[in-house]
Structure formats: structure tokens, C-alpha cells
Symmetry: C2
Subunit: 607 residues, 2 copies
């Protein structure tokens, strides 16, 4: 019995629920007393607290008891966190207890996730779900749709919508302008609509979905359906695993209508500047030929996480007589049947374009400039995503929200440790494939630390190909392979630095994209772009993601060094999940709620 | 102990699960031996077996052991029913055990519902869910969306869709033609698409949803969202309780696109006739000015369960100088501000139109020709639908499929018994309202047997108003009330049979609709319309629903006396639920599965 009463010991079989309840009670109690030392002592020596807006009005990860204490010292007592409880019975695996939790603060309601070991909290996720008094009109709060009773001068839903559309940007100013109406802008627009924040989403194309329609014809999503749902309206059960680009385009178009997203097509922002006196932006918009001046308080760039196309400036580009364009401008293979195509680059777009050109009987050469991570789509689906995003996961009761929060619960600092073993499995499963690829001379890698595709995506947003077939063409020699940098172009060829001459009727520059703050330089000015700094990446000190460590993705979905300027985007998963946090931050500001930001990031890189 | 061994006794506390398992085993065993006497003896003396396609290739209800035996004698042994099991633990309330069951037949898989008493089975529902070998591509069977690998000459999803659309009706004939592209035609079109049955849905309007857009502007759905979901793609959580007509129109339009329903807008069927030699229909379609001849094997009328508008033929209609039109043609109240409006009729449309005219400052008189059932929308929602279709039901785990099957499990013969107490509750809850309505001289009723709105809907599809406010105007005298039949019109008035003169600038005939076989007379011929007979109604021998008893709704969603001719429609609930059974019947025929129909209905009325 004595042993059991020793400090730091516990009955061997205390059930996980009791232990979590006890931890939560201690945490809440310490916070309520303002005892940040006691609260932080509940965390393990190596530990991570990731907060998504609930405690910090920021996306922040703090580390270890010191970090926890620093955070709490800053946010208590005003935040008044309370009501911590479990949402379902916690589970224990290999000495780690996992719990889904709910909590409240003075202003909002949150959900979170806790991993508890004998040392204390190992990981804690806290995420804001809704603001008190600003709950979304959904489910039991859904709108009536009609006003029962008789009302003289009643305006129908359609008349109200038309009046609102006519007033927007003329007699009524949007509080938020979202530049870019792809999946990111549309998802954010839907959330802002739900939260009753006056907003407008601006897009240059003719109609929603054209961002996808205008891409090369064989393009399908590389991520599977379970990973791709938009907020509020999930794809139906018959939706294809990998949606063809025109089908996802139709979905985005109907989603914009159904969710009543205020959306201006054929609209280009020609300039934006912050009016310090008026405390709003002056945003000049060309709307289908008409110039309009908007005055939003908040400005969101949702222009594509990939940023502006990197078109190389090569000697001889002006004398080359064939077609040449960046991969983002590639019209598809139809016009190049029987022609000689040189594709510069070896990542996703390069492979997709090479495959489509080959299918249309072009003579195709891929120019590999640096090593690429290649992973087979099926293996990625089964091993990389299957536990959270698959039919199997759905059948086991996994919801999209729970999958998103589970993923979010893994701190970026240690995420690669969870990823490495998955890619080791893939390497083993597809060993034959990799051997053939190597034999063909293709240089492939698994990321600087073997952590594979998703870490590459988070760190640099490039450097990989999800193989849906084109890598086999490279392995077979059907698509020819060249190596090295391009020296220059001639009238009818691409010449590499080693002197190799690649005759060409078409050159596609699959040379990637710059940082999103390049759009800021274009639309606002270079000084503001530099002030906001590089967008995307974790500061992992790996290739194309220079340190220092940031803890979160740079500048995405959270306050930047430029007040009232925000970035939104990413893949469909990120557009869905992080649009909630960005929308809540914007809503809080619109509602006049105090939003003291903890841990505003410094700028270490300008691009 | 002796007592317990007596036949027909059971241990007092045998749990419901054991009793159901035992009943199902006995039922299956008797059927497998072809012992229809034993199988039918498992039913209570008063009992009902409702089959939706699974056993009978029909929608049929048989009654009592005799009926059960007749059915089984006809369908065994070919049907080979087997694999009966419970889907979840049965429950017992007031001596009635309820169980959800699964089963198979030689050709399909089914679900059903059983109510068991000490006397045996009281009600049994059997419904076909899918055909073996023709399972829908959903969830784990969903399409891939892209063909991985490289394929020379690959056609994209869009190219395939375009090629299919170009061929339809020209080089490729649809197996099914659906006339009418409202909610019914669209839901059926979606199911047929899923089941890979070549079909086309024809509609006269410019685009899907125009059936709603063209109605008067204040119209909202009278049924709540939980009751209104379409197949496959439920409304999102933020959908209004009562969708405004233009919003539901937008939804139908996007649904048609997203579900890839083959849909021809601006298309009118000018004639159809069965070609006995070729064994197909010759359907002449005017498609946006072009005449096309289609050759479907199966022809579905989805032209609206209400059938053709009943426009009365009154003396003086030709001399009346104001506006006059059927309620279905009413453009809305805007043009009638300050004008004198006479609305003939006192059901749903009459009330809605009177209300909207009053809101727009018209002087409105309603002419009540016969008694109307009025029920307040909130009371109907809470008491009538709440258990199955409400946020409360969703929160308690009720799914749309389960709600639909629960509703379907109540045989029409006894359904009114379940309905009467609900309307007694409503009468009590809204006693003040009814007193005021009566005081204003409005004649209201609860149906011939007090069973209220839904039975009126099933029996005659008319005779009621779901009050969303206009009945209050009548009670208050804001909308004036007149009684009796119209004698004739003068240049500027409506004259009733009792001599009352109602000055009028506008006359709206809210005089209802005929039977759907009126469309058959127009498009095919009167002989065929007579041969198929009256559509809708139960044969309840109540007002406007003459006997004899039919057991199911006449001619809806099931084989008719005219081979290859079908009817589909109803409210959104029915369009959703019964489109499955109609689609499975059509699919089975397309797949060449033998579909012997048990219990084909006789025709007792021609209109």
C-alpha cells in the first residue's frame, strides 16, 4: 500500500477515463486560480500544445512546460477557460491515453484532443468551434426559410438575395474581401456566409470551377474523396474516389450557389492599399469591365497556395519557334500529336503532362533537374490516409471532423516521426517499382528525413509525384529522361548545361510556383510583401524550407505581421478544416470581440 | 412446467430478440419447404403484409393468413426467400414487438420491418433494396473517377459525358423515357443513372427547377426539410426548414448536374404509342424546336401527381374583362395591388394566393365551395412528423431511410387509426384557432373519419390547407369569405348560385387538378387512359376516393394494366422513397430478370 501512496505513482489499473478526468480537473483548477506553474507542470517534459484560435487567437504550438506557462501567462485570466470534459470514453494504447475533450472560454466553445502518458500531457490540441452568441444557423438552429404569418410588403428569398447582390460593393461594403474563388475562397466564403460576415469572393474566371475546367483535360484530383469534402455539404456516396476536374468544377459551381456564397466572377483586383485614416482597405476591382472601389476591413489572399508560376528566364526563349508555356498554362495534349515535347521538371504536373502527351502519341522527354519523391497512389491511399480518410474509416465510425482533428492533433514538430514508418511500408510494398524507376535513371527520394509526401507538401509544397501511371512510362523508357539544368533554347530545341540537345516543338515549364506573398507584391506593393514575408512552410531547415522553426505553417489562416491581411488556401482538406479557424477569427473581429493575439510570428524570409 | 410446453404458450419473459429470431426461422423454414399453410399460420388472424417489390414485383398489401397464403402460393418456390435476420435488437412496447430485418431472395436483397404480437405477425413490411449483381456503385463500390495507368486515346470524364449526350436519342436509344422533370422525374432519373439504365428525363421548361421558379413568388415548401431530402444527396445542415421555391429550384438544378441525370430541357412529348411489333414505344419529342422520335421500352409519366389543372367551364368566362386563370398559372400578387380579387377554392393554393394578394394590398374574397381541413404548420411538424422527420428525430439516431421504412410499415388499411389520435392532439392544442375560424364562418373538417391531412393526401390529394398564416386572415375577416358554387361571371364580377355578386378585377380558379391519366389521354389516347384507369387514391370509399379498397395507391410506382406504362410522383418524400422501387422494377426488366407480377390491380374507375 505504501508504494501506491508515493507521489507520482498511481494504481496500476486506474482506468483511462478516470485519469483523463483527473488531469482535466487539475488543469482547469490551476488555470482558474491563475496558477500557471501548476498548470504547466501537468505537461510532460517533452510536450506540445497546439492551439487553433481557442486560447491564442492564433494558430500556435508551444512546447514543453515552459511554453505552456508562457502561453497561459499571456492569456489568463481574461480567457476564463472552463468546462473541460471528455466527449467519449478515452482509450489507452501502449501507455498513451487518448481523449476527445470539450471546453469553453469566455467567448467560445471548443473541442480538443489530449494524449496523456505517465509523465503528464504529451500532446494537447485545443480548437475553437464556435463563438458564444454567434452560433451558426444549423441543425436545430437552421433558418425557417419562410416567415409564417402574413406580412404586408413581404420580400421573397429571391428578392432579398437580388437586393443584397445589387447592394454589395455599392451601397453596402463587404467587411471581408477574399481574392481568389477556387476551392479555398469558396469554402471560406461559405463559412463567412454562415457566420453572417458581409463578404465577397472575387475571381477572374467566367464562373466558379473554371480554375479546374481550364486545366489539362485528363486531370483528376490526386487526393481521394474522403479527404476532399467541403464544409457543410459532403460529397454524395456515389462520388468518385478521384474526381475528374470537370466534375469537381461543376460541384464547386453548384456549391457556390447552394451555399449562397457572395461571389463575383470575371473580377480582378488591380490594386489594394490600406487607408490608415479610414482603417480600411481600398481595393480596386475590375468587375467585367466596370471599375469598383471596395472598402473591406479585412483582406484575404486565396490565390492558390502555390503562388505565382515560376517561369524561368532562359536565353533563347525569344528565338524558340515552337510552343512554350508554364505547366499552369498547358492546354492539354491534343494539339501535339506526333510532335516532340520537352517537359522541364519532374514533379506532379510534369508527370501528368508527360503522361497525357504520351497518350496522345507525342514524343516526350522529361528533363529532371533534381530528385523527386514518387509514391504510388494506391499505397498512399491505403497506408498514408486509410486510417482517417477511407471507406474503411467511414465504416468504423470515423467522421470528417474527427479525422481532421486527429490529424491536427499531431504537432508539426514530431509529425515526421509518425510519417517515416508509413513511407518505409510503402517502400517495401512497392520495392519492384522503385527498382525499375532507378534502373531507368530516375532520381527519387523520400524527403530529407524519409518522411515522405505529406511533410514535403507542408514544408515546401513541391518535390513529389503521386503516381497514377506516368512514372511507369519513365520506368519503361516510353517517356524519355534527361538530366540537368537547361542552358538555353534554340529555334527548335532545348539545350542542357551538359550540351545535350533535345529537339522540341513544345516546351512545357513544369517549374513550380513562388511564395503566395508574390501576389501581395503585385496587388499591394513589394514593401508589404516583404513585411508579411514568406508564406507556407514550417521552418524545418529541410530543402526549400529554411529555418528557424516556426511551429505552424507560415502566415496561413492566422494573423500576419501586416494587420488585416490574411492568407487562405491549400488542398481541399486544408481549405475545409482551416477555413473554420480563419472564418472565426474574422467573425470575432466583425463582432467586436477582443482578439489579443498570442505568439504572432516573426518574419525570417521574404520569399 | 407443463404449461410452458403447451402449444401456443411461451415463457412470459422470453426476450423480444429470441421471439423474433424464432418467428423468422419458422417463417423461412416453412417457405423453404413450400409449406404455405404453415407460413401463413404464423400471421395473426388480422394481419398485413406489405411488400414493396421484393416478393411480388409489385407494391402490394395482402391481409390475414389467407392473403399471405395466396401470395406465397404464387411466388414460391422460384423466389427462394432466405437469410432472414434482425438488423438490430428488437424492442417491445405494449405487447407489440418491433423488429428491423434483412433477407434475401433469388434475385435481390431486402430490408423489412416486423410487428409481432402473441397472435403472430401483425404487420410485415418487405422491401427490395438492391438486385444481386446490379448493386449500385456507392461507398465501397463507388467509381474510381480516373483510370490509373496510361491509356492511349483516353477520353476524359467530360468527353465521355459529351459523347453520351450527343448519342442519346440519336444513335443510342433510352430504355426508359420519363415525361416530366420536376422533383419526381429528377429523383427517378438519378436512380436510373445509378443503376446504369439508359434513360432520359424530358421537361418542357428552360432548366431544371423551373417547375418551382414559375410559381407565385412567396411560395415555400409546406413540408419540412427532414421530410424532403432527395436520394443520395441530403440537404446540408444549414438548409432552411421550409425551403423557398427559388432555393429548392436551384437545388434541383444542381442536383441534376451533380447526379449526372440525363435531362432534356425545353422538350415536350407530342405523342406516344406502343409499337406492338417492335415492342417499344414511339415517343415523338419536340426538343427545342427539333422533332425527335424516341423508342423506349418503358414509359414513365412523372407529370405531377396532381394531374392536369381543373379549369371550370363557367358561363360568362368569355365576357369577364379582368384577369382570370387557374391557380397553377397565377403569376403572383404584384400586378393586383388595390385590385379586387376573387379566389375560387379554399385549399392550399387558395389560401396561399389569398395571403399573398392580401400582403400586396389587394381586396381579397375567398369562395369556399366545400369544407376544408386546416392544420397549423407547427402542430403538424411537432405532432404529425416530429417522431420521424425532425431535428429531434435526427438527434435520436433516426435516419431518413429508417423513417421512410417506418412510415411504409404501417399498412394503408389501418394507417388512419394511427393518424386519428395525432389530429385529436392538434385539435386540442389549437382549439382557440379553430373556434375563431368557425366564428368567421369557415367550414373546416378533419377528414371523413377524423384522420386528418396525410390520409386526405393519400386518398384524394386535396381538401386541406397547412396554415402558415393565411387562415388567420380568414379568421380575422381580412380575407373576406363567401360560400357556395359559382353560377356565372359577368363583365366585372363573379356571381354565386345564391345570387351573391362579388365584384372582381381578378378571378383565380384554385379548383384543383384531375387524375394523372388525363396526361395519358392527351399524349397517348383516351382508350389507353381508360385502360390504365384512375391514378392516386386508396379506394377508401371516402370523399373523392371511391371504393373498392385497393390496398396501395392506385397505379403509382408499380405495374399498371397497360404494360410498359408507369406513373411516378408525389411529394418529395414519396419521390425519394418510391423512386427506388420503380427504378428497381425498371432495372430488373432492363437486365432481363424475370419479373412475374403478383396482384396486378384491376381498374375500377377511369378518372
Amino acid at each position: 500500500m505504501t508504494e501506491l501512496l508515493e507521489p507520482n505513482t498511481r494504481p496500476a489499473h486506474t482506468d483511462p477515463g478516470t485519469r483523463v478526468d483527473s488531469w482535466l480537473a487539475s488543469f482547469e483548477d490551476a488555470m482558474s486560480r491563475g496558477d500557471t506553474a501548476a498548470a504547466s507542470a501537468l505537461f510532460a517534459p517533452t510536450s506540445f500544445w497546439r492551439d487553433l484560435v481557442a486560447f491564442t487567437w492564433n494558430l500556435t504550438t508551444v512546447e514543453n512546460p515552459d511554453g505552456v506557462r508562457d502561453l497561459l501567462d499571456a492569456v489568463l485570466p481574461d480567457l476564463a477557460p472552463h468546462g473541460f470534459s471528455t466527449l467519449e470514453p478515452p482509450t489507452e494504447t501502449d501507455g498513451v491515453i487518448e481523449a476527445w475533450i470539450a471546453f469553453e472560454t469566455a467567448t467560445g466553445r471548443g473541442k480538443g484532443h489530449l494524449r496523456l502518458t505517465d509523465e503528464g500531457a504529451w500532446t494537447l490540441l485545443t480548437s475553437l468551434r464556435e463563438l458564444k452568441g454567434h452560433e451558426e444557423p444549423m441543425s436545430e438552429r437552421r433558418p425557417r426559410g419562410t416567415e409564417h404569418g402574413v406580412v404586408r410588403g413581404r420580400r421573397s428569398w429571391k428578392e432579398q438575395r437580388e437586393a443584397e447582390a445589387a447592394a454589395l460593393g455599392r451601397t453596402e461594403q463587404p467587411y471581408v474581401v477574399v481574392i481568389g474563388g477556387g476551392q479555398g475562397g469558396i469554402a471560406l466564403g461559405a463559412r463567412l456566409r454562415q457566420l453572417d460576415v458581409p463578404a465577397v469572393v472575387l475571381d477572374k474566371h467566367d464562373r466558379p470551377g473554371d480554375q479546374w475546367r481550364s486545366r489539362y483535360k485528363s486531370l483528376c484530383l490526386h487526393d481521394p474523396v474522403w479527404y476532399d469534402h467541403l464544409p457543410y455539404l459532403p460529397f454524395p456516396q456515389n462520388w468518385p474516389v478521384f474526381a475528374p476536374k470537370d466534375k469537381i468544377a461543376d460541384w464547386l459551381e453548384m456549391y457556390t450557389t447552394v451555399m449562397e456564397v457572395p461571389y463575383w466572377s470575371r473580377s480582378t483586383v488591380t490594386s489594394a492599399r490600406w487607408d490608415e485614416a479610414a482603417e480600411h482597405w481600398d481595393v480596386v476591382v475590375d468587375r467585367d469591365g466596370e471599375s469598383l472601389l471596395l472598402h473591406p476591413r479585412e483582406l484575404v489572399f486565396a490565390t492558390g497556395m502555390s503562388g505565382k508560376p515560376n517561369l524561368p528566364d532562359l536565353p533563347g526563349m525569344d528565338v524558340f519557334t515552337g510552343d512554350q508555356h508554364h505547366s499552369s498554362q498547358h492546354p492539354g495534349p491534343e494539339a501535339y500529336r506526333g510532335k516532340r515535347a520537352v517537359v522541364v521538371g519532374s514533379n506532379n504536373s510534369a508527370h501528368d503532362i508527360c503522361g497525357a502527351l504520351w497518350e496522345n502519341d507525342a514524343d516526350v522527354t522529361m528533363v529532371q533537374r533534381s530528385s523527386t519523391h514518387v509514391v504510388k497512389s494506391d499505397s498512399l491511399m491505403d497506408i498514408g490516409l486509410g486510417g482517417l480518410y477511407s471507406e474503411r474509416a467511414v465504416a468504423s465510425g470515423m467522421t470528417t471532423e474527427k479525422a481532421d482533428l486527429t490529424f491536427a492533433s499531431l504537432p508539426y514538430r514530431i509529425m515526421h516521426e509518425f510519417q517515416v514508418p508509413l513511407y518505409e511500408q510503402m517502400a517495401e510494398r512497392d520495392a519492384d517499382f522503385y527498382a525499375r524507376l532507378e534502373k531507368a535513371g530516375f532520381r527519387h527520394d523520400w524527403g530529407d528525413d524519409g518522411s515522405g509526401l505529406f511533410m514535403k507538401y507542408l514544408r515546401r509544397g513541391s518535390g513529389y509525384y503521386i503516381d497514377v501511371g506516368a512514372a511507369e512510362l519513365v520506368a519503361d523508357g516510353e517517356v524519355k529522361l534527361a538530366h540537368g539544368q537547361v542552358s538555353h533554347l534554340t529555334e527548335d530545341s532545348v539545350v542542357l548545361e551538359d550540351g545535350t540537345v533535345l529537339p522540341a516543338d513544345l516546351v512545357v515549364y513544369a517549374t513550380g510556383y513562388g511564395s503566395m506573398n508574390g501576389w501581395v507584391a503585385d496587388i499591394i506593393d513589394q514593401a508589404t510583401a516583404d513585411r508579411v514575408g514568406k508564406v507556407w512552410g514550417l521552418g524545418s531547415a529541410t530543402t526549400k524550407d529554411p529555418g528557424p522553426w516556426e511551429g505552424e505553417q507560415r502566415n496561413m489562416w492566422k494573423p500576419t505581421q501586416v494587420p488585416h491581411l490574411w492568407f487562405h488556401g491549400g488542398n481541399l482538406h486544408q481549405s475545409r478544416h482551416y477555413s473554420l479557424y480563419l472564418a472565426l477569427q474574422l467573425k470575432a473581429r466583425h463582432a467586436g470581440i477582443d482578439t489579443p493575439v498570442y505568439g504572432l510570428q516573426d518574419v525570417h524570409h521574404t520569399a
